[in-house]
Symmetry: C2
Subunit: 249 residues, 2 copies
């Protein structure tokens, strides 16, 4: 069984025959992503265009996990998220909010919008802030972009509180994926480009973690003081080769 | 000698005869402010309209202190500040920036502008971030507003660095005011509404600190675990009364 991190560097990841190989193998596959700019449907459509025959039920982004937490705790969110993510929250009661959810809102991170989220939080007797990930920045074709973690820290400081992170590397997030697969951590391998959120997060839950040298990968990752990947490969194709050849033994 | 904190709550502070009393006394007076939305000239004009006969040389905001540091260290700033503050930096070389200065930029804190400041910092071999204050939020007539400290924390997290704070409660900032007065800390009393930045900051430098129950004051301040004001009064008029009556003894 394998999990794969996918985001903007998706075009780097899905090269060569890897998509075909994964599909042809009988490995269980889940796509763990901190993508919070679009619904699962849009995300899957993007992967399908890249030749991946996957379904919405195989994709695990933070938003649905957050909605499960809201239901469990009877919370109604004020949303500071990307317009593309809003449909995921269609069925959620957002009246008279008693918590704030911050996602990768990008251009929606205006002063006015951040101020509004702040005012909701500071007006609550027990302020609750959920953050859909804690990334610092990511790379797009036109350069580096600030990620949700930066605005999470901003609101944490403004309100003197600690956000609850939903998504990688949160152990409850990884555990929900394992539950869905019906597997134990030692039976699962995580492949991703982010040493701390993908590899470290998975290892923290008892999975193996392999890093690909694409996307967020930096050479310095291979001598990180606290996180050591169970393998480092050039791309997803190599990672799939590795998995399949090890199963062969 | 007395220092006074002034900002948006200025209309609360300068009530009754306090302005006249201060002016008539022979006390040396300096206005310490973390105001970074306007030049000193505009700031003084505002105080003059309120009946205060003060000059630009008596006002100590963070921007001129920052410019002194830039000169000392040969740094050229990228500015993320309020449009109203830009004239203070007119004579400063801003080409090919090797540091970032963040002030209370308010509406200028767009995603694009914060991203631009981030890209400058992350592109530097030795990133240097100056923050003109570290306030969390302040109150305006239309409600609470996020202050510069929130965006300082955002950039700190994005770039994994620690900002250098210029302005209250920085000891070097208070010391520059003491130097200008030619006085020892024990000869000076600070009056302000912010327990940590005004009162605590002044006390940390050996001054006395009195809190006024206006602006940012909250009742909880009077039982703060680490900072205890040398006096708490309802407004500036009472603080002036107190100073003048104690001098009388």
């Amino acid at each position: 069984a394998a999990s794969v991190e996918v985001r903007e560097e998706i075009d780097d990841l899905f090269t060569g025959a890897s998509a075909y190989w994964l599909k042809e193998s009988d490995l269980q596959l889940r796509f763990c992503t901190n993508e919070t700019q679009a619904t699962r449907e849009k995300f899957v459509a993007k992967l399908r265009r890249l030749g991946f025959d996957i379904s919405v039920s195989e994709v695990f982004p933070p938003a649905p996990a957050a909605i499960a937490v809201l239901k469990e705790r009877g919370l109604r969110p004020h949303l500071l998220v990307h317009d593309g993510l809003l449909p995921e929250f269609d069925g959620v009661d957002k009246t008279n909010p008693n918590c704030v959810i911050v996602g990768d809102a990008a251009e929606n991170f205006s002063y006015q919008n951040l101020n509004e989220a702040f005012r909701v939080l500071i007006g609550l007797e027990k302020p609750v802030l959920f953050s859909l990930g804690q990334g610092r920045y990511y790379k797009e074709t036109d350069g580096l972009k600030l990620d949700v973690g930066v605005y999470m820290k901003a609101l944490e400081y403004a309100c003197d509180l600690k956000a609850e992170v939903i998504g990688k590397p949160s152990p409850t997030f990884f555990q929900s994926v394992l539950n869905d697969m019906g597997l134990q951590p030692h039976e699962v391998l995580m492949i991703g480009d982010d040493l701390l959120n993908d590899v470290g997060g998975a290892q923290h839950c008892g999975m193996k973690g392999v890093q690909v040298r694409t996307g967020k990968y930096r050479p310095i990752d291979e001598r990180h003081p606290t996180v050591t990947a169970d393998g480092t490969v050039d791309n997803l194709a190599q990672a799939v080769d590795m998995i399949l050849s090890q199963r062969g033994h």
